[in-house]
Amino acid sequence: MNDSTAKNLALSHMWVAFSAFILACFMGEYQVLERSGLFDSLSSPSVYFASVSTHGVLMAFVLTTFFIMGFGYYTASHSLKVPVWNPKLAWFGFGLALTGVVMAAIPLLTGLASVLYTFYPPVQAHVAFYIGATLLVIGSWVWCAIMVVMFYQWKQANPGKTVPLAMFATTANAFLWLWTSTGVALEVLFQLIPWALGWMDTLDPGLARTLFAWTLHPIVYFWLIPAYTAFYVFVPKQAGAYLFSEEAARMAFIVLVVFSLPIGFHHLYMDPEQAKGWKLLHGLGTFIVTLPTLVTGFTVIASLEIAGRLRGGKGLFGWIGTLPWGNPMVLSVILSLLMLIFGGFGGIVNASYAMNAMIHNTAWVPGHFHLIFAGTTIIMYFAIAYYLWPVLVKKPLFSKSLALVQLWTWFIGMSIMTTPWHVLGLLGQPRRISSVQYNNLLTLSWEPYELLMILGGLVLLGSACLFFYLLIKTQFSASTEPFEGIVEYAEPLHEVKDLPEYLNDFKLWNKVIGVLMLISFGIPILQFFFMDTYGSSGWGY
C-alpha cells in the first residue's frame, strides 16, 4: 500500500506542532525569568502578558491539535491498512487550521490579544484572534470527520471484526473533540466574534465562562488520548511483551470520552454564576473520570511487569530493573507514569469541591497542568515522534542516546519546575501575575521557589532544543543507505474474542454523552435566559 499521503500529512502537521512548541518553550523561559523579578530590564507586563497568551495558545491549541491530527492520519492509515480518505479534504483542513494559527498569531505577538488562551471576556481582543482560533478549530473538525468516515468505512468492509485498538482510540478522540469543542465554538460564534465585531453590544460573562468550562475539561483528555494510545499500542511491544488487557484499554477510552465531558464545572467551583448542586454533580463526575486513568496505570504497568519478567526480572519488583530503559518509548512511559502519579494527585485535589478554594487560581494550578500536560502528555508526544520520525522520513533516528538524554532532562526539568510551583500555590501565590508587587512579608517566602523554577525552565528549554535538533538531524542527515522503519502494535496477552459491540463502536456512547450533557449543562446554560442577567461591554486591558 502506498501510504506516502499519510506520511506527508503526518510530517507536515507534526512540524507545525513542534515549531509552535519550540517557540513557546523560549517564551516559557522568558516568563519564569521575568516573573522572578531578578532582572529589572525584563520587567514589562505588556510583554509578559502578550507572551503568556501566546505561550498558552501555542502549547495548548497549536502543538496539541496539529500533533493529534498528524498522528491520527498516520495511525488511521497504518492501522487500518487503507489510504487516508479524501486527502484533498485533509490538506484543506490543514490549510484552514494553519491560516487560523497565522491569523491569531499576528494580534497575539503584537500585544493586541493579551487576553490569555482562556480568553475570558469582557476583556476584548482583536477580532482576528477569535476568528483565527475558530479557523483552527474548524480545520480540526475536518480531521475529525475524516477519522470517523475511515472508522465506519473500515467497519463496513470488515463486518464483525474488531477495529484495531489504535484506530479505536483515535476515533474516540475525534468524537471527544467534536463534543468538546462545541462549547467554545458556541462561545466564540454566538458571543465573542459578534461582540468583537460590534454586531452585539454586550455579552454575559457568566454564560461565556459556563460555555468555556464545557470545553476546558475534556480538552485535556483530547490532548492526553494520544499519550494513552501510545501507552497501550506501542509501549508493551517496545518493552518486549504484550498488552495486558485490550478490553480494559477499550473501556478506559470509553469512560474517558464519556465522563470527561459532563464535568467542566470543577473549573467554576469558585464562580458565582452556578449553584452548588451543579458544582457537586460535576465534582462527582470528575471523580468518576479518575477511574480510567487508574485502570490505565494498572494495565500499562502490568504489561511492563510481564515484559520485565520475560527479561529475567525476579521477585516482587525485580522486573522494573530488567525493563529496557534504553528504549525511548519505554523510558518515556516510565517517566510519564511517574509524573502522572503526582499530576493526577494534584488533579484530585483540584477536583475536591470546596478544597479548591485552597489552590484556586494560585501557582498550584499551572504547576499541576504543566506536570500532567507538559510532563505526562508531552513526553509521550516526544516518544511518538522518536518512534515515527524514522518511519516518516525513511532515515534512522539520529542518536538514540541523545534522545534518552533529552527525555531524562525533560523529566528532571519538569520536576524542578513544577514542585516549587505547587508549593508556591499552597503559600498563596496567585497564577497569572507578571511580578510580585504585594508589600507583605509573606512574599519573601516565595523567592527561593522562583529561583528554582528558573533553573527548571532552563533545563526544559535545553531539552526542548535538543528534541528539535534531533528531529532536524534525523530528517536532514545525509544518509545514503535505504532505511525502512516499521511501526509495530502490541498484541493483547489474551486474544480478544467475542468483543461486545459497545467496545467496538461509538453509536451507543454518543447517545449516552448526549443525555449526560443535557443533564449536566442543560439547565445551567438555560438559566441565563431565564434570569435577569446584565451584559458587559468590551473592555480593553
Binding site: P45, D201, Q437, Y438, N439, G535, S537, G540
Partner: protein
C-alpha cells in the same frame, strides 16, 4: 492602638454625603450615543470654548486643559458631571448645564477628532514620574499609570482620559485636587486613592512628563 484607630475610623458610619461620585452609567446605548456624536455640530459648538481651550482644542493657559485628542467618553462624562454638580467649577457648571446630552456628545466627538498637542521635551528631571508611569510603586499599592492611561498616554476604552500633551500645570492641579479631595467625580475614589499616595514632587514631574508625551 494603631489598630484601634484604624478600626474606629473604618466602622463608624460615615456622615459625609452618601451620594454617588458620578451619575454616569456606561450602558451600551450611552456608549453608542457618544461614539456617534456629530463632529461638525461639535465643531460649531466648540467655537464658544475656544477662548479658554484654544482654537484647535489646545489651550494656551495652564489653568485650562487642552481637550484635543481627549477620548470622547471622558469629555462626555466630565460635561455631564459638571452639569450634575458632581465636579465643581463655577464656570463649567453653568456651561455644562446649558448643554444637552446631544451637545455634549457632539463636543466630545469633535475634541476627540483633533490631534493632541505635540510639546517639546524640556530638560527637567522626570525620572520619578517615568518610574510611576512604567513601574508604579508596589510598596504604596500604586499601579503604573500606563496600565489605565495607555503606554503613550492616549487613554483607554470606557472612560480613562488621555493625558499626552496636556498642560503640565493642569495635570498638576488636577492631581492636587484629587489628592485634597476637592475633585471627587471618580467613582469609588479610584483616582483620589492614587493621588493621595503621590508626593508633590512626583505630581510635578508627572505633569511635565505627560506634557511632553506624544
Amino acid at each position: 492602638m494603631k489598630h484601634l484607630f484604624l478600626l474606629t475610623a473604618l466602622i463608624i458610619p460615615s456622615f459625609v454625603s452618601a451620594k454617588p461620585a458620578s451619575n454616569m452609567v456606561w450602558m451600551p446605548e450611552t456608549l453608542n450615543f457618544v461614539e456617534n456624536g456629530n463632529v461638525q455640530k461639535g465643531e460649531q459648538l466648540a467655537q464658544s470654548c475656544a477662548s479658554c481651550h484654544g482654537e484647535k482644542g489646545i489651550s494656551a493657559m495652564g489653568m485650562f486643559p487642552s481637550l484635543a485628542g481627549q477620548t470622547a467618553n471622558y469629555t462626555y462624562k466630565q460635561l455631564r458631571d459638571y452639569a450634575d454638580g458632581k465636579r465643581d467649577n463655577p464656570m463649567m457648571n453653568s456651561v455644562a448645564q446649558g448643554l444637552s446630552d446631544q451637545d455634549s456628545a457632539d463636543l466630545a466627538a469633535w475634541f476627540q477628532s483633533l490631534p493632541a498637542a505635540q510639546n517639546k521635551a524640556s530638560t527637567q528631571d522626570v525620572s520619578k514620574a517615568e518610574l510611576m508611569v512604567n513601574q508604579g510603586n508596589g510598596k504604596k499599592i500604586l499601579p503604573p499609570c500606563f496600565t489605565c492611561h495607555g503606554a503613550s498616554g492616549k487613554g483607554k476604552r470606557m472612560d480613562t482620559p488621555a493625558l499626552a500633551g496636556q498642560q503640565s500645570e493642569y495635570t498638576v492641579n488636577t492631581l492636587m485636587a484629587y489628592k485634597k479631595g476637592t475633585r471627587h467625580n471618580d467613582i469609588y475614589s479610584r483616582m483620589r486613592v492614587i493621588a493621595k499616595q503621590l508626593s508633590d514632587d512626583e505630581i510635578k514631574q508627572l505633569g511635565e512628563l505627560y506634557q511632553q508625551m506624544k
